[in-house]
Amino acid sequence: MFESFKSRAEAVSAEVHRFANGSEASRFLSDFLVREGVADQPGKRAVWSAAPEFPGIDPGSFAGKIPGLTVDVTKEKAAEAKVGISAVEWGLADTGTLVQDASDVKLRLASTLPEIHVALLRTGRIVPDLQALLPSLTPESSRYIAFITGPSRTADIERVLTIGVHGPVRLVVLAVDGDPAEKPAERRPS
């Protein structure tokens, strides 16, 4: 399932990395933020929409280590951030899609405005396709469900595919294995 997800996601220019657990992913993320030059300057900051919690990855552990990284996500901060970090609920293997209950506006700010969106995904939450996911979606209680498949793109000029229009130019998926006993795509309480 993961392999299919990965190849579909990469086919639409997403970057996919897999980790055995949260601490491995945290290490990668920390290095990644440094490598991307995240700093406490306009245009170089990073915003992290910390709720809902992601098992094994604690934004608090980054505090003080990466200057310019904040969990206080506002429109203004997101607008001048280079990187936005948010957790997603599910993955779809057949299209390489991330699915996020983005009712919390911070999740949307972190995943729409910055140039790079880092998405945290539990590998066990990858399901085969939309059909398999449908029973888990709860539009009655989720105000904004977002499907994300690769970075923002357009072909509006001469049909030439160009990545990065209004949304992120890069989508980096950190797939974390964690607890193998986890039931995939459990229904969230409404």
């Binding site: 429109k75 506006v105 499907f147 923002s152 509006d156 000029i157 229009v165 949304g167």
Partner: protein
């Protein structure tokens, strides 16, 4: 057709940027669409969509009420508006009441339909389109020329010029750089706007959800950043259940942009929190604008199954030549023609409906299972019913329906052109007739129609009988093909009878919207074939075959002549095309096809009605292969040749380039012969090749088989 409309067409045809862009796109689309649908049962998906959306169209009042209840339960405000004016006023009043001065929009065809931008700007509200294509055409002051790719008609050079003016700096003709300019320029607009206006691709009654499908990410910003979100949603976007979104999400990205899924799908259900934590002010305007009326119409209800993927444009041989500014109004192409007749300017719809050549390519790819050409003919029929036929058209049909008179008129015309005739062709016609033979030579008219020739043929008394329906071209222009048909059947011990009273199949009248004439043609032919002792009614013209098999009943029904339906159905059940019947004779062992020696290579052209109405394409290829021909496939073998009956007379300027492309695809195979089952295509393609001085021979399958079959029992 007005002269100005012909001028519009000519201008579009002369615009090589446009033709080049659209042609490259249509070529790429064929392949990329097929790839996107790999492993997907398209027929099953579209059957689901047609069922969901067709069912929803019958329940608009109920679904509207349910949607409103569910969405309002979750904090949205739902306004149902029957007219464009009410939609505009609602939004203008809202903007005024809330002190809105700046609006950002994501792509919405519904807002184009009601010309919302103009109204907002007139009220002094800054309105920015944010979809890249929409922004380009907004800056250029144009209409979208394609429903999915609004600016497909513009080159990067033109876009650079448009953007340069907007940002007051000279920009390079570099697409990634131009896209960056759009990102930079519009980012501020997103952040400062008080109101975001979007459309929606699906509205779910069960939950009050809106589904918005985009690639650029602008809709996510439009629906998230401003404190007010207004969604304009046509009633046809309603589906009953949340699970109904699945087949649409499967088909729409694949059909529209050949993607498995677009970058973003947003499902908005009620008012989500604003950036400052306050609840979003969400207004959903459900727009009727004649959709309820369409839903009540037994024919046009089907058009509400459209999911606006624009694949009917992408496969249309006419659209790719003239584009959406000519072939369309707000909505473009085939489906656009139908929507324009209902929601747009009537005068415009009268002009553009004529552009459909009725080739049926769009029917094959439509994920809503809409008979687009059929509905366009219905637009024509109603316009003719309302206005009556023109005097000229009436006179033409009077002649066409009297076979003897028709032949003598054609023959007289042909004789008058005798000085211009050579090798059975008329190459130049004088004066006002010259348009007809500009791009192809026309066949000379036979001295003796086939109806007279067949009586002279000594036929064996067979144990089986078939009635032959000749159609005008075999009867008057290509009696030789008629002789081939008779000879092939005779060899299988089948005797061919020719009911003398047979007349026009009604296709010309039907395609002109003159259903009363078509229905009379049906009745005359039913009477001509009634009581004829024959196991089948065979035609070697697919257009006639399709008319006899499918259209007689349709024309009679539409004219309220129900008493003729049983007889029409009885006739329809016996109708068969030449290649299918010969295949049957071979399978029965009545006929053997023998491979000829040292035959030239051959390529096969699929005629529109044979391939897409009668679903026959394998049979002629197999017969030709048995006869020893090596069949090399040409590119786009099933794309129309541009004949379209009287289409090539009404729009010679469009017919000619469609033919040119077909000829070039034929020539690229290197084959010495091009085969086909339709005498109309023979006329178009043979005439075109002759005009070019090409040595490639154009042959009807019957003429290629006649000396390669023998009695098989």
């Amino acid at each position: 057709m007005t002269d100005t409309f012909h001028q519009e067409i000519t201008q579009a045809l002369e615009n090589s940027n446009l033709g080049g862009a659209l042609t490259r796109f249509s070529e790429a689309y064929r392949t990329s669409r097929a790839k996107a649908y790999e492993g997907v049962d398209f027929e099953a998906v579209r059957a689901q969509i047609a069922e969901v959306k067709g069912g929803a169209a019958g329940r608009f009042p109920e679904l509207t009420a349910r949607f409103k209840e569910e969405a309002e339960k979750r904090g949205a405000k739902v306004f149902v508006a029957d007219s464009p004016e009410k939609v505009r006023n609602y939004i203008l009043d809202l903007a005024k009441a809330k002190g809105v001065t700046k609006v950002v929009k994501s792509k919405s065809m519904a807002s184009e339909e009601i010309h919302l931008n103009k109204a907002l700007e007139a009220a002094g509200i800054q309105t920015k389109e944010t979809d890249l294509g929409e922004w380009i055409i907004q800056l250029a002051g144009q209409k979208p020329s394609h429903m999915v790719m609004p600016a497909i008609h513009l080159t990067k050079e033109q876009v650079a010029e448009i953007f340069s003016k907007e940002v007051n700096e000279r920009l390079e003709n570099d697409i990634p750089k131009l896209v960056k300019v759009a990102r930079r320029e519009l980012r501020e607009r997103f952040l400062e706007a008080d109101m975001g206006i979007s459309g929606a691709n699906i509205a779910v009654a069960e939950t009050g959800s809106l589904v918005i499908i985009t690639n650029e990410g602008n809709a996510r910003l439009v629906t998230t950043l401003p404190r007010i979100h207004v969604a304009i949603v046509g009633l046809e976007k309603l589906v009953p259940l949340f699970k109904d979104i699945a087949p649409i999400l499967k088909a729409l990205p694949r059909s529209a942009t050949s993607q498995l899924l677009t970058s973003y799908v947003s499902i908005i259900t009620g008012a989500a929190p604003n950036v400052d934590g306050s609840p979003k002010e969400l207004h959903i305007v459900l727009m009727d604008h004649r959709r309820t009326e369409m839903a009540r119409d037994p024919v046009f209800k089907e058009a509400l199954q459209c999911i606006r993927c624009a694949s009917c444009l992408n496969v249309c041989p006419v659209y790719r030549l003239v584009g959406g500014h000519v072939f369309g109004d707000v909505y473009t192409g085939g489906i656009g023609t139908i929507l324009t007749a209902w929601t747009g300017a009537m005068e415009r719809s009268k002009e553009i409906q004529g552009l459909c050549i009725q080739c049926g390519s769009c029917v094959e790819v439509c994920p809503g299972k809409i008979d687009i050409p059929g509905l366009i003919v219905e637009v024509r029929r109603r316009q003719v019913k309302e206005q009556g036929q023109s005097f000229v058209q009436k006179s033409i049909f009077r002649v066409v329906n009297d076979r003897r008179l028709f032949h003598s008129v054609l023959r007289a015309a042909s004789l008058a052109q005798k000085p211009f005739e050579k090798d059975g062709f008329i190459r130049h016609l004088p004066m006002f007739l010259s348009g007809l033979a500009d791009f192809r030579s026309l066949p000379a008219i036979a001295d003796k129609p086939f109806r007279d020739e067949i009586r002279a043929i000594q036929q064996p008394k067979g144990d089986r009988k078939v009635a032959f329906y000749a159609g005008c071209l075999i009867d008057f222009a290509y009696p030789g093909t008629g002789r081939s048909v008779v000879e092939v059947l005779n060899r299988a011990g089948v005797e061919v009878v020719f009911p003398e009273k047979q007349t026009c199949c009604g296709a010309p009248a039907r395609y002109s919207g003159a259903y009363d004439v078509a229905a009379q043609n049906a009745i005359d032919n039913i009477q001509a074939f009634e009581g004829v002792d024959a196991e089948a009614i065979l035609s070697a013209c697919p257009t006639c075959t399709a008319a006899l098999r499918h259209e007689f009943t349709a024309a009679l029904k539409s004219e309220g002549l129900a008493e003729w339906l049983p007889a029409a159905q009885k006739l329809a059940d016996k109708v068969v095309d030449f290649s299918s019947y010969v295949t049957k004779l071979v399978a029965e062992g009545r006929l053997t096809v023998e491979a000829g020696k040292s035959l030239s290579g051959l390529t096969y052209h699929d005629s529109c009605h044979l391939k897409r109405t009668l679903h026959v394409s394998r049979e002629p290829r197999e017969l030709l292969a048995k006869a020893g021909y090596t069949v090399t496939e040409m590119a786009e073998s099933d794309t129309c040749c541009g004949m379209g009956g009287s289409y090539s007379v009404k729009f010679p300027e469009i017919s000619a380039p469609i033919l040119e492309r077909k000829l070039s695809n034929i020539q690229k195979t290197g084959a010495g012969t091009v085969a086909m089952d339709c005498p109309g295509c023979v006329m178009q393609i043979r005439g075109g090749l002759d005009k070019k001085g090409s040595p490639v021979a154009t042959r009807h399958v019957a003429d290629l088989l006649v000396d390669k079959v023998r009695r098989g029992y």
